[in-house]
Amino acid sequence: MTESSPRRFNEQAADALQNVELQQALNHMRAGFVQRRREAIDRLPEFEGLRDESQAIKNHTLDHLDLYLEAFEKKVTEQGGRVHWAKNAEEARRIVLEICRAVDARTVTKGKSMIGEEIHLNAFLERNDIKPIETDLGEYIIQLRNEMPSHIIAPAIHVNKKRVAESFREHHTKLPADRTLESRVDILAEARSELRGRFVAAEVGITGANFLIAETGTSVIVTNEGNGDLTQTLPQVHVVLASLEKVVPTLEDATTLLRVLARSATGQEMSVYTTFSSGPRRPDDPDGPEEYHVVLLDNGRSALYGTDFQEIFRCIRCGACLNHCPVYGAIGGHAYGSVYPGPIGKVLSPALMGIDNAGNLPNASSFCGRCQEVCPMRIPLPKMMRHWREVEFDRKLNTVRARWTLGLWAFFVRRPGLYRIATRLAVGLLSRCARRRGHFRTLPAAGDWTRHRNLPAPQGGTFQDRWRKKRLDR
């Protein structure tokens, strides 16, 4: 696998558009997610009210985040668990390693965790002779294929079943050559039996967290497979990886957010398993882990509080913005070169990776506004992408050509009289040049457009002139 990177966004996107299997998968995805979400929302008249409340709950929590984190920590400690604070990815990885070493762990099972992806935990554990095993089917598939997730809730959305069967044959050494892996049923049964043994053998189970609850010192995970539950119930140690903003005040607040989460994500009324975990097993519990750890990751987040970007931390990772994004729908997740693809990634990745590394991402948008419309937390994603573009411009990170063009444009728009004259001249010139054909096959400075299609020549004056004429006619 060649590492993809936001720096090579343009090439990666061009490749994605040519990838037939990916395009088939994306077509299939768009229809399914969009329609199921619509139906689920139509069944619940209170949905818009729940969105408003969810937004208010998170705004309140983010404004008091330091206090809620302290309350959460206190409660976890009271119940015999431990909270660890990690400033960056390196600290988080080191904390996890120490927990694993303390119980001589050889294998670690993992429920789906975006934080695990963000800190590249698997490669690190392997370098330290601990075998990490992803147990969410989608994550397991991409682990075998040595890939990044291409969707935040459907990580293997780009892989078809033929490719899954190929990976299983390559990696499952006990799989008889004559066993059929034709149907999805066969494939799922094979994954289930292969992973069963792993759940039982692992010393440590690592999960993410959809929410942390300050009132009770609880971590919450949401899954459909039940993999997260086996991951955290069977091993001796349960480690939860979470970013700071996952905390909410009370059980009631978590409940409100849960009501919008599954409906926005998969169009389910409720995901199959929503699991609340508080501390290690109690003295008379017959099963469950003996240790419970929560690793709280900052990784650049705390610096964004009190700024225009604070609102991004309302995100509950439902994936609705990806499912409705025309850019994501055309190129899939890998082209973005970040573990967080799509509209949410365009805002979050520059914060985590630096705008100088991820500056391409906030620019890869048509500003159609669909993401903000469907976001259950009403995060103003387009506005925030624009903020990043401003930061990028202010720090002089764009190409010389882009800066020069923007500068020229800015010069004219600040001078309306001049702007009118200049556009009139340009429109007249263009329409005269293209008189016969009505379009351009190539045009200097518009090469990115004309490489793929013709540029229609302007007909009948500038927009401003036509608008004025229309108003006068009325």
Partner: protein
């Protein structure tokens, strides 16, 4: 300065928190202790019999199967019938739950039950529930010495015995019961909200039942 202080310090500075927490600290304390209810959908707010019907509808929508019986005496026959219909083993592992102790299992000679946590070799588990939520057909299962969590996940088939009056309109009612049982701010180690059997859509976005958890979830509702 350790990482904890560095992170909390950065947050306090950026959020302009007063040194002693100020007004914010009072607001937070109040919110945590009052745990006020937010907007609750009307959907589940009906009388008991309508609630049970709603629970059944949503449970079935989520691919659970449901049987209704008139009394506790009828549970063993309902369980045996379900096992026969799906050609499943009659050797069962069950929760050491006093409510399940009180069921006259012997009336169905073919059933053998062991009360203990589950292992990877068990095929069918029988448990009770802490309660249920009509709003989405969801079961609420809590861990404890009479209700091991492994029973909910390891066996391929999970049978849950639920008494009709355990079905509440909404999750909030269950949280109220939970606080009454375990105390303010206290939870058992694990609370599972379960809505249907395990599934995955990770292969070509097509739903397939029975991923890692149970392939079948059968709920026997006992009328009261």
């Amino acid at each position: 300065m350790n990482s904890r202080e560095a992170i909390l310090g950065a947050l306090r500075t950026n959020l302009r928190r007063a040194a002693d927490g100020g007004e914010g600290a009072k607001t937070v304390m109040k919110r945590l202790t009052t745990h006020a209810q937010n907007l609750i959908p009307m959907r589940g707010q009906r009388d008991l019999s309508a609630r049970v019907a709603l629970f059944e509808d949503y449970a079935v929508d989520a691919a659970s199967t449901v049987a209704r019986v008139a009394s506790t005496e009828d549970v063993p026959a309902a369980v045996a019938k379900f096992l026969r219909a799906h050609n499943l083993p009659t050797k069962l592992v069950r929760a050491p739950d006093p409510r399940l102790d009180a069921i006259p299992w012997r009336r169905q000679r073919i059933l053998t039950l062991e009360a203990r946590p589950a292992t990877e070799n068990d095929a069918v588990a029988v448990t009770g529930a802490f309660g249920a939520v009509a709003e989405t057909g969801t079961l609420v299962l809590t861990s404890g010495n009479t209700s091991p969590t492994t029973l909910n996940f390891l066996p391929e088939t999970h049978i849950v015995i639920l008494w009709a009056d355990q079905i509440d309109p909404d999750y909030e009612s269950q949280w109220t019961r939970l606080r009454a049982r375990y105390g303010e701010g206290m939870m058992p180690r694990t609370v599972n909200l379960v809505t249907g059997p395990s599934r995955s859509a990770d292969i070509e976005q097509t739903l397939q039942l029975g991923a890692h958890g149970p392939r079948r979830l059968h709920i026997v509702i006992v009328d009261v």
